[in-house]
């Protein structure tokens, strides 16, 4: 009975527990549901006085692709944005980007807006819709004060409690309001946003524009007049145009960017009513198809096309604007007098009586001379005017040139006049021209005209050119002004050198930008494409100029999977560190000449670099080149060669002594027995050290855990050689190789010489072998790279164009072999001695193979004899 009672009790407790858990789950679900539905619209917190408004439905989907763009990397490699490069690189290379929960958490709706404050500076306000996650953020005011986050404070004033976060030079103010987190760099703006409901200030149409979802990941809405006024400063025509734009008119700017192309579209509504601007007649004309587009051949590489009105209308529209700076009317009147005197015709007759609304400037393949095109509306009148011009003594129609079977006339001075002017050093242009259909073409290069003629008659039209088709795909055919450009040949006016936008556009070489007028709105549409999808070899931000050309030309990478820095030494004592995420250059000057080596494992106090001076000063530095631990320490030794590292220790060779210094500062000395002296660095592999005592009766000693394992039977080398032995491990066997200067290649398995070795490589070697996971590699004096396997089979390849390698550099990284003969050129080969993609590159010495730009691909960082540090994209 007692047992039954116990069972019933335990059963009811279990039930209670289950009920409790269920109740808790229900409460949580209820809270999450409540949080998901109890929402505030972001428009409630945005005052309507913004200049630009941005909206994205998923922050993650909008921003993540931007991280991969070369344009972003380029922007962040230059000031002022380079301060954010470190953060960018961390995010870009972080594995968390693939994490489902991170992605989900960051897939939030975000609205942001720029406001101009009383001082004329930009303030921003942004608002994150946390959705169901607001079930957590609604408790922010309770949670955040308990989290000890540096520089984050909870503040409270009469009206508002908020969080304040101080960053470098900026303070961010934030507050959570139901489902939203609202933040701004201005406390005033935050207060204004939160203390009123701004939703009522928007008209129905404005609400529609701001809230409707579009096909672009990021929607930009702007007060077009405010925006255009900012961009038009300094351009009189654009400034005049801005006066016609409607006040307080919101417009959607569509913007898209990928690695292959960039697109932008914006509408600028205007009103011509009650305006006295000279531009009004042009703006009242609806854009139509410029027929010249159907006449352009594939030889046209860029064009600027104007289809706004007749020449006379353009003159009437532009003169009042230009007159403000230049006395154009007086010039016109002088030209009028000259025309009447020379040609007995008015300038209006000469220019306007036969021309239409279309005019263009064309750039032709392989030619620097532009071609000017005018539309002819009355061919008879044109002939009449040309006859009038040529009948004067001042100009003649030289029709002597026949080029490629086409007679190309030239507007020329009579020979006597030309000779006279030439004698005085005046060389006037001689435009050639020809008429084709309804257009007349002028150029100083007759070949350009023949090219246009031939392309047109062989029906090789621009409309068939792939790049033009791509950039025109979304463009309507009608336009008032159109620019098709190729940045290799022409730079359109809107790409102002130095602006962030122009820096981005530089990656998209071919583009088309059209201006259209339709329904009292001026539309701008841009589509540009990146032509060279093949990789750019030199990484943005490089080369970096070095202060000295004296270096040992070895780049030491910070050990570990993701190297954060690389190191090198200049003038034998100036240690340099390049922090890869921020591109910050650090320097540490040794008091005397010395050697450096990266630690194989991260040491105490984040120490990653060993440095030893020529008189025994030992330093352990972090990647910012700050001293760590108890270092420096002074030892009574003089290094006789480059130092090396093993685990958390540094190995210093000196005469016939090896000194091992650990990161704790403990020192161990190992005396070697042999005949010679150590003249090269010790080679290390895992816990093994191999060291060569140089002598014609040379010996290699192997050390394990600080003890010589072959003290009484060192590996004997008959003949002398340069450099250090190479080590390779296969299963539990240790292979040691050494090549003498005269080409005898020794291979030892553990402590025994492998049968058939030494083999003769029949060459001379000024360096020694290096090992990959399977082979040994050696570079001979005549720049032949040898691969030797454990059976003694030899494969070799000549380094292209190299004649000698008396100061050879050879290194093996990730099973690729990097070699530099006596030149400023680095080659890389696979284990099978195939030249790797991206090589050769300019540089000298031993490169560092690290990911410089966070694209998870290794790049090649190398010093150069012409005092530069290059970073080459090689994968």
């Amino acid at each position: 009975m007692g047992q039954k009672i116990k069972k019933a009790k335990s059963f009811s407790f279990g039930k209670f527990l289950l009920g409790l858990i269920l109740a808790l789950i229900l409460i949580i679900c209820g809270w999450v549901l409540f949080s998901s539905f109890h929402k505030k619209s972001s428009l409630e917190v945005f005052p309507n006085s913004f200049s630009i408004f941005l909206h994205t439905d998923s922050f993650w989907e909008s921003v993540s692709p931007l991280l991969e763009l070369k344009a972003t990397e380029h922007l962040l490699s230059e000031k002022p944005l380079s301060n954010y490069r470190a953060l960018f690189m961390t995010i870009k290379s972080s594995s968390l980007r693939e994490n489902f929960f991170i992605k989900k958490s960051l897939s939030r709706k975000i609205d942001a807006a720029l406001f101009v404050n009383e001082k004329g500076e930009d303030d921003f306000l942004f608002c994150v819709d946390m959705g169901f996650l607001s079930s957590v953020t609604r408790f922010a005011h309770l949670i955040v004060p308990r989290l000890e986050i540096e520089n984050l404070f909870t503040r409270e004033d009469a009206n508002l409690s908020y969080f304040e976060y101080k960053m470098d030079g900026t303070t961010l103010y934030a507050k959570n309001v139901s489902n939203l987190i609202v933040a701004s760099n201005s406390l005033n703006l935050l207060q204004k946003a939160l203390l009123e409901n701004h939703s009522a200030n928007y008209s129905k149409k404005e609400k529609e524009i701001l809230t409707q979802t579009g096909k672009d990941p990021i929607k930009i809405v702007a007060d077009t007049k405010r925006l255009a006024t900012q961009f038009s400063k300094g351009n009189e025509t654009a400034e005049e145009l801005c006066t016609l734009l409607k006040d307080n008119e919101l417009s959607v700017i569509s913007f898209g960017i990928t690695e292959n192309d960039i697109t932008m579209k914006a509408d600028f509504p205007f009103s011509t009513e009650s305006s006295s601007s000279s531009l009004v007649p042009l703006l009242e004309k609806k854009s139509n198809l410029p027929a010249i587009l159907t006449h352009l051949g594939d030889v046209v590489q860029y064009y600027t096309l104007l289809n706004a009105g007749t020449l006379e209308e353009l003159k009437d529209a532009m003169f009042p604007i230009v007159q403000k700076k230049t006395d154009v009317r007086s010039l016109w009147s002088k030209a009028q007098t000259l025309c009447k005197t020379l040609f007995s015709e008015s300038i209006e007759n000469i220019l306007f009586s036969w021309t239409g609304t279309e005019c263009a400037v064309l750039g032709i393949e392989d030619s620097k001379d532009p071609v000017f095109v005018l539309q002819i509306t009355d061919e008879e009148k044109r002939k009449e005017m040309f006859d009038a011009i040529f009948s004067s003594f001042a100009l003649e129609n030289n029709t002597n040139l026949i080029l490629g079977g086409v007679r190309i006339p030239c507007l020329d001075l009579p020979p006597i006049l030309r000779s006279l002017l030439s004698a005085f050093g005046v060389n006037l242009p001689r435009p050639y021209y020809f008429v084709q259909g309804k257009y007349i073409y002028f150029s100083e290069s007759p070949q350009n005209l023949v090219s246009i003629y031939n392309a047109y008659h062989s029906k090789n039209m621009l409309s068939k050119v792939e790049s033009w088709k791509t950039v025109s795909a979304d463009q309507k055919a009608s336009s008032t002004a159109s620019m098709y450009y190729n940045l290799e040949r022409s730079i359109p006016f809107f790409i102002k050198k130095g602006s962030a936008f122009s820096n981005v556009l530089e990656f998209y070489k071919i583009g088309r930008c059209d201006f259209r007028i339709n329904d009292s709105a001026l539309s701008l549409q841009l589509h540009a494409i990146a032509t060279d999808t093949a990789f750019q070899k030199l990484i943005s931000g490089f080369p970096i100029a070095l202060s000295s050309s004296r270096s040992d030309y070895i780049i030491h990478e910070e050990e570990g999977k993701n190297a954060q820095a690389v190191f090198w030494i200049e003038n034998k004592r100036n240690i340099k560190s390049l922090l890869l995420d921020s591109m910050e250059l650090k320097e540490f000057n040794l008091p005397e000449n010395g050697y450096i080596i990266s630690a194989k494992e991260k040491c105490n106090g984040e120490g990653v670099l060993w440095a030893v001076t020529e008189n025994g000063g030992v330093y352990l530095l972090n990647n910012k080149l700050e001293e760590v631990g108890n270092f420096p320490i002074v030892l009574a030794i003089k290094p006789s060669a480059q130092i090396s590292s093993i685990k958390k220790s540094c190995v210093i060779p000196s005469s016939s002594l090896l000194t091992i210094v650990s990161d704790t500062g403990s020192v161990e000395e190992i005396k070697l027995k042999g005949n010679g002296e150590v003249k090269s660095s010790a080679t290390t592999l895992d816990d093994v050290i191999a060291v060569y005592e140089k002598s014609f009766l040379g010996e290699i000693y192997l050390l394990k855990n600080g003890a010589v394992i072959n003290e009484d039977s060192p590996l004997e080398i008959d003949g002398i050689g340069f450099g250090s032995p190479a080590l390779l491990k296969v299963k539990n066997d240790l292979y040691t190789s050494f090549v003498t200067q005269s080409g005898s290649f020794y291979l030892f398995k553990n402590t025994e010489l492998v049968s058939n070795f030494p083999i003769e490589l029949d060459n001379i070697f000024y360096g020694n072998a290096r090992a990959s996971q399977n082979y040994f590699f050696a570079l001979s004096e005549d720049a032949v790279l040898y691969r030797i396997d454990l059976n003694g089979d030899v494969l070799k390849v000549k380094i292209p164009d190299a004649t000698s390698a008396r100061s050879p550099f050879i290194s093996v990284k990730n099973n690729a072999v990097y070699v530099c003969a006596d030149s400023n050129t680095v080659y890389a080969f696979s284990e099978n001695l195939e030249l790797l993609r991206g090589f050769p590159v300019a540089g000298h010495g031993e490169p560092g193979i690290v990911d410089v730009n966070g694209d998870k691909k290794n790049d090649c960082l190398v010093l150069s004899l012409d005092k530069k540090l290059y970073a080459w994209n090689v994968q």
Partner: protein, 356 residues
């Protein structure tokens, strides 16, 4: 008189107007106007001559340059209508004039070419040589044109910045036609050989540049580039003869192994002679036993020298083995010392720097 002038003027006008009607058609096929590799062919010839003159300013290239100018002149009218090609050819013609020292014509060609295409890279190179383009480095960085890198490399070489010259030459060779490398290879290799002498002062430079090094020169190089002789000279620079006497007195010029003969003052130094002095100096500086190798080898069962041309019985055996094992001098093939060959001042300079 006034009427006469008027009449003459009108007559001239009528004459020239009538001349116009006498003009004939000029017909070109399009192919004639194409470069078809002509400017590259001319460039190759000029680059070769340019490199030859750069190596040896006294080389007579007048006839070859005149031939090139004639070749350019014969084709120039064809390209008159193409500004880019004619600008390139005029720039090359200007470079040709520059090579034979005709600056006036070089400048004239520059002016003509600049009117046609001021951005032509050969024209910028010519402008730099004529002193018109002052900031070639900036232009090279901006345009990334290897032809300008060659110009910079030449300038660096002239300024005795040999290491930088090698860097620029090699970088340019990576993207230029092969003939550039073939033409400038000797200059580039010379720069490579001299790249470590960049840091020398004028006195040392003149010593190191001497082709045949005598014992006195060897001692002077040591005196001015190291502090090793200070213990004998008190750090005071001594003239050639005095230094020779001082050093000789210390036995640094005698064989370490047998101390038979001493190096004479004005003889050209062989590798053996250099090895002897360097070994003696090394032993003094590092307090090493100067006959340790002869002792060691003689004590072996089958006493045999590791070098085929320096037997154990050789008077400089210790010196040779010592300088090789201590990486002060190197062997050419790993088994022969080639002791009778002369050593250059530059080789000796590099060796003596290794004694520490």
């Amino acid at each position: 008189m006034k009427n006469f002038i008027k009449i003459s003027f009108y007559l001239c006008l009528i004459f020239f107007a009538s001349c116009m009607t006498l003009q004939k058609d000029i017909s070109f096929s399009e192919d004639v106007l194409k470069d078809n590799g002509f400017s590259l062919e001319i460039t190759e010839k000029i680059v070769l001559l340019d490199a030859q003159v750069f190596e040896d300013a006294s080389k007579n290239i007048l006839a070859s340059v005149q031939k090139i100018i004639l070749q350019i002149d014969s084709k120039l009218p064809n390209y008159e209508l193409d500004k880019d090609i004619s600008a390139r050819l005029l720039a090359l013609k200007g470079k040709s004039f520059f090579l034979i020292g005709d600056m006036e014509n070089a400048r004239r060609m520059y002016n003509q070419a600049a009117k046609k295409n001021a951005d032509d890279v050969e024209l910028i190179a010519l402008a730099s040589r004529l002193g018109i383009e002052k900031n070639l480095s900036k232009k090279e960085a901006l345009l990334n044109e290897p032809i300008l890198s060659i110009e910079l490399a030449r300038n660096a070489y002239k300024n005795e910045e040999y290491q930088e010259a090698v860097g620029l030459f090699d970088r340019a060779f990576l993207s230029l036609p092969k003939f550039y490398k073939e033409s400038y290879l000797k200059v580039r290799n010379n720069a490579w050989a001299l790249k470590d002498t960049n840091v020398l002062n004028a006195q040392l430079k003149s010593l190191v540049s001497k082709k045949n090094m005598t014992t006195s020169t060897m001692l002077q190089i040591t005196q001015f580039s190291t502090q090793h002789l200070n213990i004998y000279t008190g750090g005071k620079a001594q003239d050639e003869h005095k230094l020779y006497t001082t050093v000789k007195k210390q036995g640094l010029l005698e064989s370490a192994t047998y101390q038979t003969t001493s190096l004479e003052e004005n003889v050209i130094v062989t590798r053996l002679g250099a090895a002897r002095f360097l070994w003696n100096l090394f032993c003094k500086v590092t307090r090493v036993d100067s006959v340790k190798y002869s002792k060691r080898y003689k004590n072996r069962e089958r006493a045999k020298s590791p070098l085929k041309d320096v037997p154990i019985t050789h008077e400089d055996f210790d010196a040779v083995i010592g300088v090789v094992e201590n990486e002060i001098m190197s062997l050419k093939d790993g088994v022969h010392f080639e002791g009778e060959k002369y050593v250059t001042s530059e080789e000796f300079y590099n060796s003596v720097q290794k004694i520490k």
